[in-house]
Amino acid sequence: MDPRKPGERLLLQGNEAIVYGALAAGCRFYAGYPITPASEIAELLSVKLPQVNGTFIQMEDEIASMGAIIGASLAGVKSMTATSGPGFSLMQENLGYACIAEVPCVVVNVMRGGPSTGLPTNVAQGDVLMARWGTHGDHPIIVLAVSSVSDCFSITVKAFNLSEKYRVPVILLSDEVVAHTRECITLPQTEQVRVVDRIAPKTPPEWYKPYATNNRGVPDMAIFGDGYHHHVTGLVHDEWGFPTQNPKEIEGFHNRLHDKITKGFPEIMMTKTFDMADADICVITYGCVSRAARMAVKNAREHGVKVGLVQLVTLFPFPRKAIDSALRQCKAAIVSELNMGQMSREVNRVNQYDCRVIKHSRYDGQMITPDEITKQILSCA
């Protein structure tokens, strides 16, 4: 039925590669609501999921979609949804639920121009801080960004793996350009893809504490129907999963929720660097802008400028270590992004050196071109 087999060189859109990545990672449930520019993900999954004994459902809105994927995940099936800005806004409520109840799931946000309905068919990166802080209350979350079709496959797999390992929702930020760009990719064989699954409890049900602290900081996860008949709630809860208002338990709960991510920093914080060895200027980017930045760095190198690129794959938890070493090394850091400076503020926040952090924004619905970045680089040289 499907001519596309692993090992074959395929021309895929970013959105399609996310689907293949999700399926390779073991995703077997999708709930979503149509939205430009993310709909291709739903369309392809509606074809693919039943073929692998999975489930696709189009819900009545994004609130419901988020609820459904949490329900499916609690029933033991890896699940995801995909949307764009307006839908992502609606998902924030239940995204918080996934954080507090520690339910693994992946949310793809294919960014378009905002706020509100904004620019449905144009590119933007305006949802970066929302991905981190969109749902209310202190909460840990992992935010990853993709910049190419091959990223769309591999980072999606990574997103599921991190989500399962740390029992945390993972936001995968794509954008209109990456989503609709077609590039060639060779899909790996199933056995070549490293897949991580949540850890099931080994204790008998009567001893099982659904939110007990252990040395990993991530509690073992029982699933509905497996004999544990436990309680899951969006209220702050004790180790048994029941609501608590005990200040000690509340504090301990928040600490564990954050510590489990802190413990995973080395694995979670992913960056790619390019030509950074001798650089005294760096460009910091993520998502589609990284493509323009690579070309700009190459062009500027031809002008004899020692410039390198730090591409953030993980946006949150903020990859402080990688940024810190770039800032220490360079006299100037240009943060190029398709918003009014959301990440440049984050970079500035951690800047303890003499490095000048330059905000380079574009927010007219168009991509930043390599020439624009080259100009910024040359003006710092």
Partner: protein
Amino acid sequence: MVVEAEVIRQNYLRHNKKFPHVWCPGCGNGIVLGSLLRAIHSLGYDKDDVVVASGIGCSSRMTTYIDFNTLHTTHGRALTFATGVKLAKPRLRVITVMGDGDATAIGGNHFIHAARRNINITAIIVNNSTYGMTGGQYSPTTPYGSRSTTSVYGHVEHDFSISELAITAGASFVARGTVYHAAHLDRMIEQAIVKRGFAVVEVISNCHVQHGRRNKLGGAIQMINTFRDQAVPVAKAKKMSAEEMEGKFTIGVLCDVEKPISTEEYARIRHESCQLPGELHDEDDQDY
């Protein structure tokens, strides 16, 4: 009878964990809880095969106290979580417990779409005509003219009928009961759980603390006795004129139809297009 009550108490309540409960003395929620447990007990389901999902509100606290796979979700969203659970693991018996504001105001969209979809889930809606937990504000079922903390001058909007909404939206089974008619409620809930398709039980309940007090409806006993006087069985109501039905409501099975169930239909599609049979939850395909 006493022995059976003790068996149910021992078997289905989370004794050592979360009692005392949050409900006021005389609240109808306890009666609904009792009916739900008796219905599940008489059906003989394994506790591990039952998932109870609830939203936010007084009645939704029920999931904390009963010993099943329990899911206390966000306000209005119980049916969305339940849909995910049911689709992912069709063999589980999925029941939701919601309040009137929960199911028909903030969760109204999910409610009508769950009915339209005809997914195999049971929805128990405890209708006490107010938002009790937040202090007695008016809800979609607060009667016209009533006083609440947000309609101190008298309510200017009209209430709607949850059961009629469910029927119109396409539910397979709709029944109404009250907390006065507890034995009848046991049967309604039992029938709803057994029913294949989306099944709704609207339970008329009392909030004497928030709703009754402000509208001079009396205490718990008086309010519950009023349900006795206002409730008319479906068969009897058919013989009554509109004038005779004034101020009264029907109880019993209001709708019971057979129609294709989306979970079953999807299982067929999955079966026909599946390239890797038995990969994930084939054992579940026996029962939806």
